[in-house]
């Protein structure tokens, strides 16, 4: 499902002295089946933006079209069926392990499907499927989520969101606090889910993650969209302007260019492509 923002503004505590514009006339299309990364400083409006996607917040101006759901500032125009929207848009918030509450893992994962109207048996079935998908075997089903390790809890929480089979998945810093191997495993899982045609929206400060996983980057600043492009395009630019980090690969490549190695920034996306480009540049020099 694509998501279309049309002139969306959002003001916190409108009509009060604390009023604060978090989004200012955002026009944006997030394409179906792609991974869109949303980047920008803390306070640039990223979290307000994603909360419009499953109507946790309603725009104060403009509208967001999510499939056939319209989240509009105009109450009359706004679609009523919140449940089917939230079923389709899965939200993995930062540190999702803090939303676990049931006494067994399978019940917790089945909680979402149950809320969205599945029968008990069906919901458990969906829960088991989701648990296998995140790599937790049958032995976890009946355990208490509170006795698991941090990484396992995170997996249970993610399974709880996958169990409703969302067609859009919003990921807010999904790897924070995980060790490198678990982080990689988690991202590999989302890549796998993307293959089914799921649209991924990734909110992160980690530019290495953006470079590796995103098809499109949305740069936000003070509630406005500053740029929409591919990661390669963005990182080839000078990033100070947007106060973003440079991924390690690009940081090294840019330093190498400064030192006079005739390197091309085109198509750099990981360590091996950087090594390849460096080889090419050095060989060219030798000739």
């Amino acid at each position: 499902m694509p998501i279309q923002f049309e002139k969306v503004s959002y003001t916190y505590e409108k009509k009060s002295p604390f009023a604060h514009d978090a989004l200012k006339g955002v026009d944006l299309l997030l394409e179906e089946g792609k991974t869109s990364a949303i980047v920008g400083k803390t306070g640039s409006g990223k979290s307000t933006l994603i909360q419009q996607m499953n109507a946790l917040l309603n725009p104060t101006e403009g509208k967001v079209i999510i499939g056939d759901f319209i989240n509009s500032a105009n109450k009359k125009e706004r679609s009523k069926d919140l449940f089917s929207l939230r079923k389709k848009v899965g939200m993995v918030f930062q540190f999702p392990e803090y939303q676990l509450f049931e006494d067994t893992v399978e019940k917790d994962v089945a909680f979402g499907p149950r809320n969205f109207g599945m029968k008990k048996e069906e919901a458990l079935q969906a829960a088991h499927e989701a648990l296998r998908r995140v790599g937790l075997d049958e032995s976890f089903d009946k355990r208490s989520p509170f006795q698991l390790s941090g990484g396992e809890k995170r997996k249970v929480a993610i399974a709880g969101i996958l169990a409703t089979k969302p067609s859009i998945l919003v990921l807010d810093e999904p790897t924070s606090g995980l060790d490198p191997a678990s982080a990689e495993e988690t991202m590999a899982l989302f890549e796998e889910i993307k293959k089914d045609g799921t649209t991924l929206i990734l909110v992160t400060h980690d530019m290495d993650l953006v470079l590796k996983h995103a098809d499109q980057v949305v740069v936000m600043e003070e509630g406005e969209i500053k740029k929409v492009c591919t990661p390669e395009e963005l990182f080839s630019l000078s990033l100070e302007e947007y106060s973003l980090d440079t991924p390690k690969v690009y940081r090294f490549a840019k330093k190498a260019i400064e030192k006079g190695i005739p390197l091309s920034l085109e198509g750099l996306h990981d360590v091996s492509s950087l090594a390849e480009a460096l080889c090419k540049a050095l060989r060219k020099e030798k000739k």
Binding site: S16, N54, G90, Y98, Q99, L100, F101, R114, G160, I161
Partner: protein, 287 residues
């Protein structure tokens, strides 16, 4: 956010901010007593309440709190007014029963009931405003230090007053953090199909559990880590500590105390002697 800003410390250096918290606590008690005294008749009561109101408004302006926040906090008192009216209407006081305001079907509503309800309401309002002035002008830490000072006599009974004061100040420190947790968890569970606003009783009970369990779990984790952090920085409730914030009693404190004591004494004298200024000074008999 509005609920969090209420009752919070407002950083500013007004004469009230500079007072010793111990002084402010005594003054609060004196003024609350003054506000709740009864007088010879309604007219005197409202005259004195008017005086108190004036005093409170002056104090309020001095602390630089916004009147808007006062009005907001008083909004919830509407319910109280109706409730009080109802109680007084059902159980009218035995005197003053000749003065009927109106009839609801054949049931008489007396002016006395309305005035009594109004009287209580205004007094409650003044008490709330006075407490707000205290919390807005005093840092939580100073406030607990003040309370601790008054509790210090029971220290000799084997009660660790310093430890209890620490508990109190930590509770105050963590209120905003826990409110943030509440919001975060509610958003996460809403995304999993929980409706916190509507539904049958059983559904709402489950919704509440899905909020409370994670909240308790995260608070336990917080308190555990906080305990480690405090111990790691050398906190031991049994050993001697020094105090960064010294409570000092200045001339201003003496003046504030005298003024409040004088006002309280005036009110008490008038109340005890059933002094009626309208009759004594103007020779008018009023209700």
């Amino acid at each position: 956010m509005s609920s969090i800003t209420m009752g919070r410390y407002v950083p500013y250096r007004s004469p009230i901010h500079l007072l010793d918290p111990r002084t402010k606590l005594v003054c609060l008690v004196l003024l609350v007593v003054s506000v709740f005294l009864g007088y010879a008749n309604y007219s005197t009561t409202f005259l004195m309440t008017g005086l108190s109101l004036l005093l409170v408004l002056v104090l309020f302006a001095m602390t630089r709190m916004s009147f808007l926040s006062l009005l907001k906090s008083l909004k919830s008192l509407w319910f109280m007014l109706i409730f009080l009216l109802l109680i007084y209407a059902i159980t009218p006081r035995s005197d003053n029963l000749d003065w009927v305001a109106f009839f609801i079907y054949d049931y008489p509503i007396y002016w006395a009931s309305i005035l009594d309800a109004l009287k209580i309401l205004v007094r409650l309002m003044l008490m709330v405003a006075l407490s707000l002035i205290l919390t807005a002008s005093t840092k939580p830490l100073d406030l607990t230090a003040g309370i601790e000072w008054y509790l210090s006599p029971i220290h000799f009974l084997g009660v660790n007053t310093a430890a209890w004061a620490m508990v109190l100040s930590l509770a105050l420190r963590f209120i905003p953090t826990i409110l943030e947790d509440v919001q975060r968890i509610m958003k996460a569970q809403s995304s999993r199909g929980v409706d916190f606003k509507r539904g049958k009783l059983t559904v709402r009970a489950r919704a509440l559990i899905s909020l409370v369990v994670p909240l308790v779990v995260s608070s336990l984790v917080r308190s555990d880590e906080l305990g480690d952090a405090m111990e790691g920085r050398g906190y031991d409730p049994r050993s001697k500590r020094t105090r960064y914030r010294k409570l000092t009693f200045h001339w201003g404190d003496l003046i504030a105390l005298l003024l409040c004591a004088a006002f309280c004494a005036l009110c008490i004298t008038m109340s005890v002697t059933s002094f009626d200024p309208f009759l004594t000074w103007f020779g008018v008999t009023v209700r």
